[in-house]
């Protein structure tokens, strides 16, 4: 940021590059696609709890990306949000990320008893998968307490869109101090933005500013941002259709979009947008332990046509 734009400053930039790599960098700080590929391949993903869901997401929720999850009320958005806040904490030795979670609650739907229950469910599943770790040293065992999982969720309760904007602006500082946070969940990004706005153009500007901030946070701190969104009806071509809230401009502001919907009595997830994966859908279930595979699915990838 200190360069002046004069020729001497730029030529020093050029020569620095020549010395280090033998090839001058076109842009200091930029990465080649090759380097990014190896970075990406070493990345772990945050499991959703359901194998089928992980499959369509390419292994789970990706870090450095913003994922939007939308659906009708009661389909399980908050459940999935809580599940992710728990799953991100699965210790590295059990195949997880061992990170912490930030949960920004705008609707007041974060039920801490339920979180405790999901944490217990998560721990019992870990112990089922790693039966031998029972006898292992107590140091690993120490972490596997629901209390520890709860303690590593940073919870913000937001009551207006001003607070929400402020919280997102503050996140950058907060995350700088808490480098072990690997997921930021906003449940829901919509709630306060559906009211109190007379000037819709202003709403669009505020929201697109927020989305760029979240993109920046995701990339800078190598964490996953998950935005939960509500649905709304849209009048097109003579009929009402369900779409995600916040309008056409907002729909561009996520990297991935997952839509949760009911198919008869079964819950399904549909990957609607992704730069690297095909559109696909998979069933899932919400059980007492949290989000899991639908029992009937037989651990196979199911596509709805």
């Amino acid at each position: 940021m200190s360069y002046t734009g004069s020729a001497p400053a730029s030529s020093s930039l050029y020569w620095k590059g020549m010395e280090s790599s033998g090839d001058p960098p076109i842009l200091a700080g930029a990465q080649s696609a090759w380097d990014m590929l190896s970075d990406e391949q070493s990345q772990k993903h945050i499991t959703t709890g359901s194998g089928d869901l992980n499959n369509i997401l390419g292994g789970g929720i990706h870090c450095k990306e913003v994922t939007e999850i939308g659906g009708v009320p009661g389909v399980g958005k908050t459940q999935l949000g809580i599940q992710l806040a728990i799953n991100v904490q699965i210790p590295v030795e059990y195949g997880g990320l061992g990170g912490k979670a930030v949960y920004i609650d705008t609707e007041g739907s974060f039920m801490v008893e339920r979180v405790y229950q999901i944490a217990e469910g998560c721990i019992s599943d870990i112990l089922e998968h790693f039966p031998h770790s029972h006898e292992k040293s107590s140091s690993g065992q120490k972490q596997l307490q629901p209390e520890h999982f709860l303690a590593d969720i940073f919870y913000f309760r937001i009551c207006s869109y001003t607070e929400q904007t402020a919280a997102i602006n503050y996140l950058e500082k907060f995350l700088g101090e808490h480098k072990d946070v690997r997921i930021v969940i906003i449940d829901s990004v919509t709630f306060h933005f559906r009211q109190d706005f007379d000037d819709m153009a202003l709403r669009t500007r505020v929201l697109s500013g927020l989305s760029l901030k979240l993109m920046k946070i995701a990339k800078t701190y190598n964490l996953a941002v998950v935005l939960l969104n509500q649905v709304t009806t849209k009048f097109t071509e003579g009929s009402f259709q369900l779409t995600l809230a916040l309008g056409d401009s907002w729909s561009h502001s996520c990297t991935n979009r997952l839509i949760l919907y009911w198919n008869g009595n079964d819950r399904y997830a549909y990957l609607d947008k992704s730069p690297s994966l095909p559109v696909a859908s998979a069933p899932y279930a919400v059980t007492g332990k949290g989000v899991r595979d639908a029992v009937s699915s037989n651990h196979k990838r199911v596509r709805v046509t």
Partner: protein, 312 residues
């Protein structure tokens, strides 16, 4: 903070103008010294070109860079033209990013030059790029390429795509300035630039937070971006590809975002829409060919290797 960064962005344009007049990169040092006190009008004006010189310049330097998606290449008269700004617009998840990734991969695989990819929405997917590169059949036909193992080949291709994340307009000004400086260095030292394509996916998400409302600054920054991009395209034979989103135009219809004053900026405007697996591309504006032509093609996401389901 933003004020200083804004000024450095503005400085980019002015100093850039002073640094490189198109006609005389060789006497740039002399004139810098001699005319420091009295810059003469001719220095800034540049020289005129006659039609034949222009034609020669166009045929030698302004090539079409093929996107690798045949239908789009046909629509565009061969691909993304160097020296021009091409815009792709379309609703969310219509395939804009896929066209960008595909163009980058194809042009890298054909070894036509370096690709500068500016990403604003964390949607540059290296694994997707690798998949596309593997899928480009005539890669094997490249000179010397068949001698290398598959991974080394992939590596050399992927090394020529350079990606940078940009999350606000001031960062964009800064990156473009830095790019201009290194392009100028290349031009002076190596007689030509290696970068042939600049992709910004998406430019509208950078501009959306600042345009509109009571104040005109946002709009003027938008036009500054347009000026810089067109200048880079023209001076260094870059092809510039940007994506734009769509906004509601009332009555359930949609239109490209960024309004009337941006409308004049791109040389070529292509609109993409997707219905299930079928993409439709429509030329909204073109400098050489008739607009309004459409082509239907299979969504790039189809090339992931499986059949995609319909929307529920």
């Amino acid at each position: 903070m933003s004020a200083t960064r804004g000024r450095s962005g503005g400085g980019a344009t002015t100093s850039g103008c002073g640094l490189k007049r198109r006609n005389a990169p060789q006497d740039h040092e002399d004139s810098e010294v001699m005319n420091q006190d009295q810059p003469s009008t001719e220095d800034w004006c540049g020289r005129f070109w006659n039609g034949m010189e222009l034609l020669k310049d166009v045929t030698e330097k302004k090539h079409f860079l093929p996107t690798g998606l045949e239908d789009i290449d046909t629509l565009l008269g061969g691909g993304l033209r160097q020296g021009q700004l091409t815009e792709i617009t379309g609703p969310s998840s219509s395939g804009k990013t896929q066209v960008c990734l595909h163009s980058a991969s194809n042009i890298a695989a054909k070894q036509m030059g370096l690709i500068m990819y500016l990403d604003t929405s964390n949607s540059f997917s290296p694994s997707r790029v690798a998949t596309i590169i593997y899928g480009i059949a005539d890669l094997i036909g490249q000179r010397g390429f068949e001698l290398q193992p598959k991974d080394a080949r992939l590596k050399s291709v992927m090394k020529s795509i350079i990606c940078e994340s940009v999350f606000d307009i001031f960062a964009l000004f800064e990156v473009l300035h830095q790019l201009e400086v290194s392009l100028l260095n290349d031009k002076v030292n190596n007689g030509g630039s290696k970068v042939c394509l600049l992709i910004i996916d998406s430019i509208s998400s950078l501009l959306a937070p600042i345009i509109g409302g009571k104040y005109p600054q946002g709009r003027s920054m938008m036009i500054s971006v347009a000026v810089i991009l067109k200048k880079l395209a023209d001076d260094y034979n870059l092809s510039v590809l940007v994506t734009n989103h769509m906004v509601s135009a009332g009555n359930g219809a949609v239109k490209p975002a960024l309004g009337e004053s941006w409308k004049t900026v791109p040389h070529v405007r292509l609109m993409i829409s997707r219905e299930n697996n079928i993409c439709t591309a429509t030329v909204l504006k073109h400098t050489l060919l008739a607009s309004g032509r459409t082509a239907k093609f299979v969504a790039p996401s189809q090339m992931f290797g499986g059949s995609s389901p319909r929307r529920p």
